[in-house]
């Protein structure tokens, strides 16, 4: 029965709560493979800090008999290897988070697997960690994987590192062996930018020097692992950084209140401070800092608050508020380290979604500068990236965003890439610096072409050229197609014959010469739009084969997609949506196609659309399906739904 002992009389709750509240906080990760005793070490920390409840211990004893690898003992690793598959295979395959606390600190441990194929899991754990414990087996000393772990921890901005020399019992607690490993580690870790680096001998299995010092290690003068974790000085990460506030949610309970909800990511802000919307450059002042517990005069790093400003300026989710005198970079291109996390290879030019802070936009890698060998740190040229590979790349975004270098701010300098088709998180990115267009365009002139622009939008730019009699339904169908493409996240532009004649072509009449010039201008304009990466819908009667050929010739072979909207003259005349046929019949309009001017039907259009008896919806669907099938949208199979 679950009986709880009566509360001890001496226990003073408020003293206890205060002591809890004054505890500092450390997030750390453990890297190493199961052979190094990583899960056993975490199990040991939980066990020795009395974080294991009686019923958990009972379950553990039962599990140890079933799965245990340590004869006749409690297998502490089973406390942490959670998923059934892992227990059966005896390996850790994912990141697990564990919680424990001591008199001095509260801890969150990210338990990450150590094999090379789990680099992404380690990077995940490291992204939020202050400290990394690199675990080695005293018998084996430093391995290639130790170098990899140190590199990844360093890359992800972990500033404190501990080399835990485990299984010291298996080398008979030999000081000489320990000193060898220590010397080797110190010579190589000096190459990294760690603030503190500690080497500690221990035995996770027997508990030597994990939470209590051991007589068998009496030659060791340093701290136990737990003492070090409790006492390592962290320094406040972002308190020195400039104020950053990525807007999460516009808070509008009523017409009188317009607030911007978000979490302070670096620095602090006071009521009255001047702030700028980094992307637009618009400035205002902080009017109020609102929380349910009352307004504050100041908001610090990490606080989730709602700001109101003294001016009504246009701000939405994804905007970043910053001090006017200390702004983040704003650019649509930057250089970054990418850690590739997907089974599907990364290819430059392929369109992805990028989430940075609260902003999600289109992005693609324009160039892999070099790939990093995580074991030797050598740089290699690369055409693509495979799972767990790390590379330094240039990225281009569909619009400019605000960011900081990762070194300056872990939150505003990091991003993830998301696959447009599968929606999986395919990469983690760490921004180094922005690439300014002016300095960059020349160098990249060949890269930024219509393919790249179209790729950014996840489409192959093309002209959909709708030709057919007046009243055949061209514009209605084109409009429906454009709506469907828009809802699929495609970037389009519709050039409609009538609308263009109100502007660009308003000086032209309906003589054959003017009709040719009309088509030439529209063809040239649509070519520019295709160059800009857009799917361009042109809805023009365009009665003459030659002019349609002219338009076709201006574009590459697969960029001109001719759609013959085939509606009989009788039907068009019966519909007569603008009353033009009636006027033409009365002789009020001359040179009217189908009446007194010829319509030359296309002989081999890409799509021959017979409209009789079909709905606009069905016709539009047929076009979109063809675009998909022919790879205009969802080129390289990326397809947003």
């Amino acid at each position: 029965m679950n009986k709880i002992a009566p509360v001890a009389e001496a226990f003073d709750l408020s003293t206890y709560i205060n002591s809890q509240e004054s505890k500092s906080f450390l997030r750390f990760l453990t890297c190493g493979s199961v052979d190094d005793g990583k899960s056993t070490l975490i199990g040991r920390l939980l066990y020795d800090t009395k974080l294991i409840f009686e019923d958990q211990l009972a379950a553990l004893e039962k599990d140890s008999r079933k799965h245990g690898t340590v004869a006749d003992e409690i297998d502490l690793a089973l406390l942490v290897d959670g998923l059934e598959a892992e227990r059966e295979q005896g390996i850790t395959i994912d990141v697990a988070y564990r919680f424990f606390s001591t008199e001095k600190r509260k801890f969150i441990v990210a338990d990450t697997p150590g094999h090379e194929q789990y680099t992404r899991n380690m990077a995940t754990g490291a992204s939020t960690a202050d400290l990394a414990i690199l675990l080695v087996d005293a018998r084996n000393g430093l391995l290639t994987q130790t170098r990899r772990h140190a590199f990844i921890a360093s890359l992800l901005g972990v500033r404190h590192v501990v080399l835990a020399v485990n299984k010291i019992d298996l080398v008979d607690y030999d000081q000489k062996r320990f000193e060898e490993i220590k010397a080797e580690f110190e010579s190589f870790s000096s190459g990294f930018d760690f603030n503190t680096s500690e080497v500690i001998p221990l035995s996770a299995r027997f508990g030597d020097n994990v939470t209590t010092s051991s007589e068998k290690l009496s030659w060791f003068n340093g701290p136990t692992l737990l003492e070090h974790l409790e006492n390592v000085e962290l320094g406040e990460e972002h308190s020195e950084a400039a104020f950053r506030f990525p807007v999460q949610w516009v808070n509008r309970p009523n017409l009188d209140f317009r607030g911007y909800s978000g979490t302070v990511r670096g620095g602090s802000v006071n009521v009255g401070d001047e702030v700028v919307v980094a992307q637009s450059g618009k400035t205002s002042r902080v009017e109020k800092i609102v929380t349910m517990d009352g307004d504050q005069v100041r908001a610090d790093d990490g606080q989730s608050v709602t700001l109101t400003l003294t001016d009504e300026i246009d701000i939405s989710r994804g905007d970043v508020l910053a001090p006017a005198h200390s702004r983040p970079d704003v650019s649509d291109q930057f250089a970054a380290h990418l850690i590739w996390m997907s089974e599907n290879a990364m290819l430059p030019g392929r369109p992805y979604l990028l989430k940075c802070g609260t902003k999600t936009i289109g992005a693609s890698v324009t160039e892999i500068k070099h790939k990093v060998d995580v074991n030797t740190f050598d740089h290699h040229a690369a055409k693509q990236l495979a799972l767990n590979e790390i590379a330094f790349c240039n990225l281009a975004l569909s619009e400019a965003i605000a960011f900081d270098p990762y070194e300056a701010n872990r939150d505003t300098g990091s991003f993830i890439l998301i696959d447009r088709m599968t929606n999986e998180t395919v990469a983690a990115g760490l921004i180094w610096f922005g690439l300014r267009r002016a300095t960059n365009v020349h160098r990249q002139a060949l890269d930024v072409n219509k393919k790249a622009r179209g790729g950014l939008k996840g489409q192959k730019p093309a002209v959909l050229w709708f030709t057919g009699l007046s009243g055949s339904g061209k514009s209605t169908i084109a409009n429906a197609v454009e709506q469907k493409l828009l809802s699929l996240g495609r970037h389009t532009y519709l050039l409609d014959g009538d609308n263009v004649r109100h502007g660009l072509n308003k000086d032209l009449g309906f003589t054959d010469a003017d009709r040719v010039e009309n088509i030439r201008r529209v063809a040239e304009t649509s070519r520019l739009f295709v160059d800009a990466g857009l799917i361009t819908l042109v809805s023009f009667i365009s009665p003459f084969k030659a002019e349609r050929q002219l338009a076709r010739d201006l574009l590459d072979t697969d960029e001109f997609f001719e759609i013959f909207v085939d509606t009989t003259l009788e039907e068009c005349e019966a519909r007569d949506p603008k009353g033009l046929y009636a006027k033409a019949r009365k002789g009020e309009i001359s040179n009217f196609t189908g009446i007194d001017s010829a319509y030359e039907a296309p002989e081999a259009p890409e799509l021959h659309l017979k409209t009789a008896g079909r709905t606009v919806e069905a016709l539009a669907d047929e076009i979109v399906d063809r675009l998909l099938k022919d790879g205009y949208i969802g080129s390289d199979n990326t397809w947003v739904i």
Binding site: M1, N2, K3, I4, A5, P6, V7, F11, L13, S14, Y16, Q20, E21, K23, F25, F53, D55, L79, V80, G82, L83, E84, A85, D94, V95, A96, Y97, F99, N121, A123, T124, S127, T128, Q248, W249, N251, P253, F257, G259, S261, G262, T263, V290, T291, M292, D293, D300, G302, Q303, S304, M341, K355, G357, D411, S414, I416, I418, N423, T425, A428
Partner: protein, 302 residues
């Protein structure tokens, strides 16, 4: 009892608020699973904070198995009324029709039909694309690897081997039609954090958490409360009035009470601090086998 602005609890609070807002901002039709327990109470409190002065821009969903403690239902309606929230109550009517109950059908079958299936049914019926749950990583081993945004297939299944990596505070909320996520804003809280926060913030909780004289029977080492006359006594069992309280709340025939005289929040927290039994041991469904929670989650249980 005030909380220091940089304290551990504030850090957790800020992180949870961030998560709750991300879900509201990125999903079309989120819902907050409200189980009426202490974790739900904290989660709701955080949601109120996240959007203040607006109300949370999503409804609450309570999956009512029809076997909840009566005091839970009273407290639920009181809370919803107090904050002027939208509440959806969903019950597996098919299950009710077939009289599925914890006595005849076993805890695991009953839970599957009246909880897991009912939840899936509600999520499908209302087309929710995100559902907040109050689960914590410290509760159970398989939860320790659960993501904050936990992706679910169109059939609501969880694939533990195919989870999206979650780095920094960047959550990937992209899903295809029919798919959804479970969002766990309390992932990094421990049971102790929950109690301390309830204490510090003065959050109201169901009175069942406090000790009182209640009618109970002892069955297989567990104290079960007779909340209504549907409870079936086995031969030889006798009902006793004992000072008991609950550390976790669920369906009354499946929720074990603990003997305790703790009748204030302070006493509960003090008791908690010297407890040697983890809270889920009071839930009978977790005892089937070590991997049982993982199995349930794969099937769509929270």
């Amino acid at each position: 009892m005030g909380i220091d602005s940089q304290s551990h609890l504030r850090r957790l609070e800020n992180e949870s608020i961030h998560i709750i807002r991300e879900v509201a901002a990125e999903f079309d039709n989120p819902v907050m699973l409200y189980s009426i327990g202490k974790d739900s109470a904290v989660m709701l409190h955080l949601a109120l904070k996240a959007f203040y002065p607006s109300k949370p821009p999503f409804p609450l969903l309570h999956v009512d198995t029809t076997w909840k403690f009566q005091e839970m239902i009273t407290f639920r309606d009181y809370t919803v009324d107090k904050y002027g929230l939208d509440l959806i109550v969903h019950t597996n009517e098919e299950g009710v029709k077939n009289n599925i109950n914890p006595f005849d059908h076993g805890s695991s079958n009953y839970t599957h039909i009246m909880k897991t299936e009912a939840l899936k049914e509600a999520l499908t019926q209302y087309k929710f694309d995100a559902a907040f749950g109050g689960a914590r990583r410290d509760e159970e081993k398989s939860r320790a690897k659960e993501r904050v945004f936990s992706f679910r297939s169109a059939s609501h299944g969880w694939d533990p081997k195919n989870q999206r990596p979650e780095l920094w505070s960047l959550y990937n909320g992209r899903i295809a039609k029919g798919e959804s996520i479970r969002a766990f804003p309390l992932s990094n809280w421990t049971e102790l954090d929950i109690w301390q926060y309830i204490l510090a913030e003065g959050i109201e909780i169901v009175p069942l958490y406090f000790s009182a004289k209640r009618p109970v029977v002892e069955r297989d080492g567990t104290l079960l409360m007779l909340d209504d006359d549907r409870f079936r006594l086995e031969p030889g069992e006798k009902v006793e009035q004992r000072d008991v309280r609950f550390r976790t709340l669920g369906c009354y025939p499946l929720t074990g009470a603990v003997e305790s005289t703790a009748d204030t929040l302070e006493d509960i927290v003090s008791e908690m601090l010297i407890a040697r039994t983890s809270e889920r041991s009071g839930r009978l469904i977790d005892h089937d086998s070590s991997g049982s929670m993982e199995k349930k989650k794969r099937e769509g249980y929270f």
